[in-house]
Assembly symmetry: D2
Homo-oligomer: 348 residues x 4
Amino acid sequence: MLIVMQHGATAEQIQRVVEVIKGMGYQARPMPGAQRTAVGLVGNDGRVDESRLAGLGGVKEIIHVTQPYKQVSREWKQESTVVRLPGGLTIGGEEVVVMAGPCSVESEEQILAAARAVREAGAAILRGGAFKPRSSPYSFQGMGLEGLRLLARAREETGLLIVTEAMDPESLDFVAEHADIIQIGARNMQNFPLLKLAGRAGKPVLLKRGIAATITELLLSAEYLLSEGNHDVILCERGIRGFDPSTRNVFDLTAIAVVHELSHLPIIADPSHGTGRRDKVIPMARAAVAAGADGIMVEVHPNPPEALSDGAQSLYPEQFTELMRETRVIAEAIHRRVSEPLPASIGA
Amino acid sequence: MLIVMQHGATAEQIQRVVEVIKGMGYQARPMPGAQRTAVGLVGNDGRVDESRLAGLGGVKEIIHVTQPYKQVSREWKQESTVVRLPGGLTIGGEEVVVMAGPCSVESEEQILAAARAVREAGAAILRGGAFKPRSSPYSFQGMGLEGLRLLARAREETGLLIVTEAMDPESLDFVAEHADIIQIGARNMQNFPLLKLAGRAGKPVLLKRGIAATITELLLSAEYLLSEGNHDVILCERGIRGFDPSTRNVFDLTAIAVVHELSHLPIIADPSHGTGRRDKVIPMARAAVAAGADGIMVEVHPNPPEALSDGAQSLYPEQFTELMRETRVIAEAIHRRVSEPLPASIGA
Amino acid sequence: MLIVMQHGATAEQIQRVVEVIKGMGYQARPMPGAQRTAVGLVGNDGRVDESRLAGLGGVKEIIHVTQPYKQVSREWKQESTVVRLPGGLTIGGEEVVVMAGPCSVESEEQILAAARAVREAGAAILRGGAFKPRSSPYSFQGMGLEGLRLLARAREETGLLIVTEAMDPESLDFVAEHADIIQIGARNMQNFPLLKLAGRAGKPVLLKRGIAATITELLLSAEYLLSEGNHDVILCERGIRGFDPSTRNVFDLTAIAVVHELSHLPIIADPSHGTGRRDKVIPMARAAVAAGADGIMVEVHPNPPEALSDGAQSLYPEQFTELMRETRVIAEAIHRRVSEPLPASIGA
Amino acid sequence: MLIVMQHGATAEQIQRVVEVIKGMGYQARPMPGAQRTAVGLVGNDGRVDESRLAGLGGVKEIIHVTQPYKQVSREWKQESTVVRLPGGLTIGGEEVVVMAGPCSVESEEQILAAARAVREAGAAILRGGAFKPRSSPYSFQGMGLEGLRLLARAREETGLLIVTEAMDPESLDFVAEHADIIQIGARNMQNFPLLKLAGRAGKPVLLKRGIAATITELLLSAEYLLSEGNHDVILCERGIRGFDPSTRNVFDLTAIAVVHELSHLPIIADPSHGTGRRDKVIPMARAAVAAGADGIMVEVHPNPPEALSDGAQSLYPEQFTELMRETRVIAEAIHRRVSEPLPASIGA
């Protein structure tokens, strides 16, 4: 249950609501928000007598939130969240944003070539891993801080914004400093200490769905971010574990429509990890946009066979150009349009 | 391994190939086909010395089929299969076909109302179950033969072709007599005796993917149909079992691209069973077409809340009209178009 | 809701209950049972006013069945079902029954060798497929009726009872005539027409869980058998589809405890299909017995590398002998014992 | 490929092997081990010419490791690892160890009551979470450092060793200081930075299988620990995600046999999380021991209905006592025995 306070409610009025809730035997969780401050009432198993709360000073209304997640729910906030990025780029509005680039930053030459290619084709955001979570300790683990610096250089040259993954407190600090969007990867979707830190990092967060996470779990993980005060959260469907080895994962596009129903947060889709196979990326990127995704994230490498990671699912630049063309047509078919990249001068 | 015979190869030449194969210690499976007759060589664990076979009379070429399925594979037949239906309707070519109608035939009034509504919106084929596989013995089991007669009446009036499910030898005979396409449902995808009968029924077959079937298993089941001589086979993705209760199934749209790569058979998608929720059907139908599906199958009921089965996933007629509009735009975006329904006089 | 009639309730009294139910706007389903006749009330969404029914003549009590399945539930019948087989062998009581034999009957020599070996080690029931559901139409499809005759010959010689699979109406007739237990395989768990026929076949039925079936679906399929009058039903866990290729299936032993809670029917486990790998069969057979299975079904072949099907998961006879030894100790640890095979003269 | 060095190989000899590997165009990874030092050769796609390496000074033998994991594999180390704990307790040998206690430490009174009860019944190790990974930010997050201190107090009084979870670098330091075994939970199985830290923490690690992890992924995560020098690793099966809501997870007991085949590391099983339902814990704990688990981990709470977390799957103390009795009999049936708890004076 949420006790929503009036716009000008005083700290004393909020405190009074908290005390009454405690006096009723429940826990109170004040949730200051951009739109409105509210106090969550937690710990009830069933119906709560709300009459004592409704009459308190500064209380505007009482909302019954039926889901385990609160601030991420549509019940809590009707209008869709539009995440605003530097240069005026937005995610969650009318535009469909395209994030593209290699799995990993491998060298200055490679990341600049990739950035130029995806910028040329029309992507607005550059992806590329500097800190890589790899199943094997013997696999390439990413270039680390040096990789972040190369991403920043690519942004300077091309105007592309940067999204890259953080894996632990140390890399989170670095990523928050250098990137425009902090990615929390699928393997860390339930790394709650990391989520709490990301919720306080002051940059938008791209939260990928875990490989076996339900939508409820995904939204609860997003709730960790919002409950720490970060409302600029973008979700990402990237494939769930399935039983058929013919694809790397099962790309669950229905998740997009389900998230849009349950939450006000934007959600994008990653057909590269979602399918794991280059020739499946294009049709499934089209399908993601048709399904209503607020963006797509695609792996593109200047030379896929030489990639240090995920080569089999990386597009060739010319395939990506074709994908961008098709994506624009599909977006228009549902009255949206693909975001234009920023001029280089703004990104820098 | 397939030993492909020349167009005019004689029965004696084919017999000779069979004998040589047996003499080599393998099994031989002659596969007469519309395009070409071939003899499959089965029972080899590794490399076979093909020199003895290549030189025999009437042998055109030798194809190494690496998949466990043979006649359904792209290796066996490069060009995509186009299934031709009465009145010139086709599935698997440039057109995207829409099949729509209620889960079950419930009454003359209901099926005619549904048929008129989906015809008006632009569907070309009417779906509707007369024989219903139901998890519970106490659920409505369908109208049976009377349901088939009502479907035929709807075809007469509207020109819509008919697809409906067969469950056992008896219903298969009835369906083959009254319908234009015989549907084999997901629960019967590995009912091999039924597949063999359907392979000899003389009507096109719509084979739905089982709820936990791999693509390989789906194609092997289709192979049962082709190996009995029926080459008019349409596959259908309809959702696979997943772990998240937020949807009924996981709608695996990547399967469309995978099937198109591995097989020459057309594949459609059923977003109604794929998602199980009415408000998810429209975005996922769009996504299916964007992913390259050769058609969609959608549940539409004149009055969903009164449906005897699957009401929660059936569209209202006006929702279906909107879906048809969106589907047409998406199809055009990828250079296809939605099939027009036949004139009533032809269907009849 | 079940309206349970008194033992001597008349046909008129039952008919009166049916009429009152219909008059209340619901459907009535009389369910004559061995223990008691009852009338199921179906079609209610919520609470039914039972006062009108409780007072009718011949009504003993009213049971609220909360599950979608009725006659298979513990609510409907508290005491565990003990299936009685020829010669006094039972399944579902204190004894743990062992069914063993090859995947397929391949020849007289093979099936007799297998029968002697498993009888010698202590199995009570011989398994062996005559009609084989195979994913590929080009795989060995079983010996058919001739296979059944060989099984009967093995029974004559060894006293082992016979369990073998039926796949369609025709093979069901044959199996019902020759075997002691009719097996319905995992792929046919939701072949409802076949279940209805098996429910009228007059022999006990072993119903295997489908590869992606929930326990509720398994019990609903069993309900088809009971609702046709066959109460001698044995369930079987045989592995469900999973994401890890390191085993063929995920062997879900918890299903045994779940079924024992929800239903009065016995349940056995098949570690051969459950794991798909010979060296995993022994530990998992032990685990199944420890988990409370009422029996196990194990593939044993006189010469596994030569088997026409499932060789990789078939035990060598000496491995099976060791397994029997371990199984006996585990059974005793939980106060059960492994059934002794019948003398040859009784089986015959 | 592993180049195994002789026992007395010098640093120079090892360095020479590294250089030759690099000169051949591959990467070299020296792996100092307790039994032997080896140099892994990584980066080869196929066959490597080993003749140049075999002749180098100090090289004992060359092992071809076919798995992606190296040091955890049976190929690398034949004999099973026995993890030695304070007081002489071992995991991975003949004994079956029982870890028991509440999901979370909630208060001094609660944890002491739990410790006494499980000690009395015969458990050797006390479990209890101080740092809790919870799906919702509004759920009880554990007592933190204070919880660790209470666990230490329980150890002092009862002699039980302590296993408890670490979630991030900070809690890892605390846990390594206070506990006897550091638990890495299922949600952090692929938190690679945390694994690296745990690999250097100087205490045995209990690594739980992720909810959708393959056995290969589990072993690769364990490889992170060994590659940092920590060879005292215990794996744990705790249930994987499934499609059937009748249990919380699918308890994959076959994983025990698969791990024992592929790796020398011990593996225990957690039937509490594996099933999620109190009445299923006892049969599945028995099954785990019968399947060959090197131990079990069971949630026991002095008063389950009052538990702040996981109450529905926590045993009552008297149920746990009965479970211990049954576990002992099953263990003996396969020639093992349940570890005795240490005297209180040793644990302290």
